[in-house]
């Protein structure tokens, strides 16, 4: 892709530009948290317990005297990782399965249909909690639990798209050229079928942050004393009446990041609709 000129950038949907700006900033903070955080996120300061927001501690301190702002900043590293790792593997695996199911059709498709029915019958969070409780709490097990369930949604989207694409002339042309099925599906059909899944991926990353922080809140995701937004909100829940800042500020970060992904997804969908 060539470098975009300023005038083309200006024609992009506003949602896309805002979303991209939020996320680029989030990725930078997540990559270099120490450059932005004024304190060590784990350093306890027993002189400044539950200190309200001030110039020295803009977001206040928690019950161990840890700087809430520094913890929110360092949590970007974990939460942005959750957004990526909880969705990347379902995206890849679901895309491959969906492409095959959509291309082969027939019995494979019916069986896949029943699997989808069954998976969406379990409340997603209930199933993920149940799997995490089997594997034990922690981030890696959380990724596995989300992945076991999450691929189905990508596969369903891709299968429907590939089914449309394989009836088009260029797929027949590929077959006439004697290309292998794998080459037709993955080199030719998939690139044309993948856009709805990419749009869904953006939404899914927002959902992954909500899910990851929910599990952190329940004690099943990232483990204390790690700085993660859900864990931080749980840390502060017993101090809500007296030291609201411990829980409230991490929530802002969740909302801002979620908003970034949703806006980017909406903007992307708008761009792709316009192109068609």
């Amino acid at each position: 892709m060539t470098v975009m000129s300023v005038s083309r950038l200006r024609r992009l949907p506003r949602a896309f530009v805002f979303g991209a700006a939020i996320l680029i900033a989030s990725v930078i903070v997540a990559t270099f948290p120490s450059a932005f955080a004024p304190y060590d996120p784990l350093a306890m300061d027993y002189v400044n317990l539950l200190a309200p927001p001030s110039a020295a501690h803009p977001f206040g301190t928690d019950n161990f005297g840890r700087d809430v702002l520094s913890r929110v900043i360092h949590a970007y590293t974990i939460d942005m990782q959750i957004a990526l790792f909880a969705t990347l593997f379902p995206f890849i695996f679901g895309t491959i399965v969906g492409a095959i199911v959509g291309y082969v059709g027939g019995v494979t498709e019916s069986i896949f249909g029943r699997v989808v029915d069954a998976v969406i019958t379990f409340p997603f969070l209930v199933l993920v909690i149940a799997i995490v409780s089997v594997l034990g709490p922690g981030l890696i097990n959380m990724y596995i639990a989300i992945g076991v369930v999450g691929w189905v949604f990508y596969a369903r989207i891709i299968a429907a798209e590939v089914k449309v694409q394989k009836r088009l002339d260029y797929a027949d042309a590929g077959r006439a050229m004697g290309y292998t099925h794998a080459r037709i599906v993955f080199r030719h059909l998939l690139p044309n079928a993948i856009t709805p899944a990419v749009v869904y991926w953006m939404t899914d990353m927002a959902l992954a942050i909500l899910l990851g922080s929910s599990l952190g809140y329940l004690g099943l995701g990232a483990q204390p004393p790690a700085a993660e937004w859900g864990v931080q909100i749980a840390d502060g829940k017993n101090f809500m009446a007296t030291a609201w800042w411990i829980s409230v500020f991490p929530g802002f970060a969740i909302v801002l990041t979620g908003l970034g992904f949703s806006l980017l997804g909406d903007g992307l969908a708008e761009i792709l609709r316009g192109r068609k």
Binding site: D117, T121, S213, S214, I233, I254
Partner: protein, 312 residues
């Protein structure tokens, strides 16, 4: 296809789904950490006692035999006894699940009450200030985790203003409604955001549709067009969406009930996982999955009834 054939086919589809549910739950529970016998007896159990418990629970037999026995038990309504509470799981579910269902139902009603009028305003004032404000607010709502919203509502309206109780379930139906109000609003927020978004585009689609232009041309009054034509069509898509969201709602109920200390099925699920009370986890997972399938079925039927094209 006739309605009866549609119903028949739809009911038939339920069978493989139910079998799959049972397989998943069976496998999952067999993988749970720590053996149930030591959960009952504590860590210093005698080997003989462990064996006795395993025999009572049927854990000494082969897996296929265990599975057949398990399916038989489920269909006779016997889900075993809770290890920690020593009472039948079916009774526990019968006690706790209605609370979750009431909570979910209240949340759905609140979500519709919030979403429908605002969706109309947003759609009819499309791309103006009202539209942007409403969509922006719901977008933020959609990005807020349930436990965070709950915690803030609990602190502001429960602990500070004391308008609502800070937790529990109360006595008597009206008191239940009062206790569940804040949790239901919490749960309703994300659903109402999805509903509003969907309803808004559905209304825009209908407003632009030819039959509405035709109705206007015929001289039908504006309000009549809105309510008879637009609302009916918009509600069909909302209904479909609501059916699909029931799983998300129940998942949200797990967290909401934990935040507000509501003694429902979701709270029971979390407690049972921490307490390794595996017959309860198993029974609840089945009950929740069945509840979702039945909701899917009901929304499908309602949809078919509202829109005859669905059965075709």
């Amino acid at each position: 296809m006739s309605m009866t054939a549609f119903l028949g086919r739809r009911l038939l589809q339920l069978v493989p789904t139910l079998i799959f549910i049972l397989i998943v739950v069976f496998v999952l529970v067999r993988l749970l950490p720590g053996d149930p016998a030591s959960a009952v007896l504590g860590d210093r159990a005698l080997d003989a006692d462990v064996e006795r418990i395993n025999r009572e629970l049927g854990l000494d037999r082969s897996l296929p035999v265990q599975f057949v026995a398990f399916v038989k038990q489920v269909f006779t309504g016997n889900l075993g006894n809770s290890i920690s509470m020593k009472i039948p799981v079916t009774q526990l579910i019968a006690d706790r699940l209605p609370i979750t269902m009431l909570l979910t139902f209240m949340a759905a009603v609140i979500a519709v009450v919030m979403a429908v009028p605002l969706a109309f305003v947003a759609a009819l004032r499309r791309d103006r200030l009202e539209d942007s404000a409403i969509r922006g607010a719901f977008q933020v709502g959609l990005s807020m985790p349930v436990f965070y919203v709950g915690l803030i509502l609990l602190t502001v309206f429960g602990a500070k203003l004391r308008w609502f109780p800070v937790g529990g379930y109360g006595d008597g139906f009206l008191d239940h409604l009062y206790h569940l109000f804040l949790p239901a609003v919490t749960l309703a927020l994300s659903l109402s955001a999805i509903l509003m978004r969907n309803l808004r585009s559905a209304i825009i689609g209908v407003v632009d549709a030819e039959y509405v232009t035709f109705a206007r041309a015929k001289g039908l009054r504006a309000n009549l067009i809105l309510f008879r034509h637009i609302l009916r069509n918009a509600l069909i898509s909302t209904l479909a969406l609501f059916g699909l969201s029931i799983g998300t709602l129940l998942g949200g109920a797990v967290i909401t009930e934990t935040v507000f200390a509501v003694p429902g099925a979701g709270r029971l699920m979390v407690d049972s996982i921490y307490g390794r009370d595996y017959p309860v986890v198993q029974g609840l997972t089945i009950a929740l999955a069945v509840l979702v399938s039945v909701t899917f079925l009901l929304t499908d039927i309602l949809q078919a009834w509202l829109d005859p094209r669905v059965t075709k």
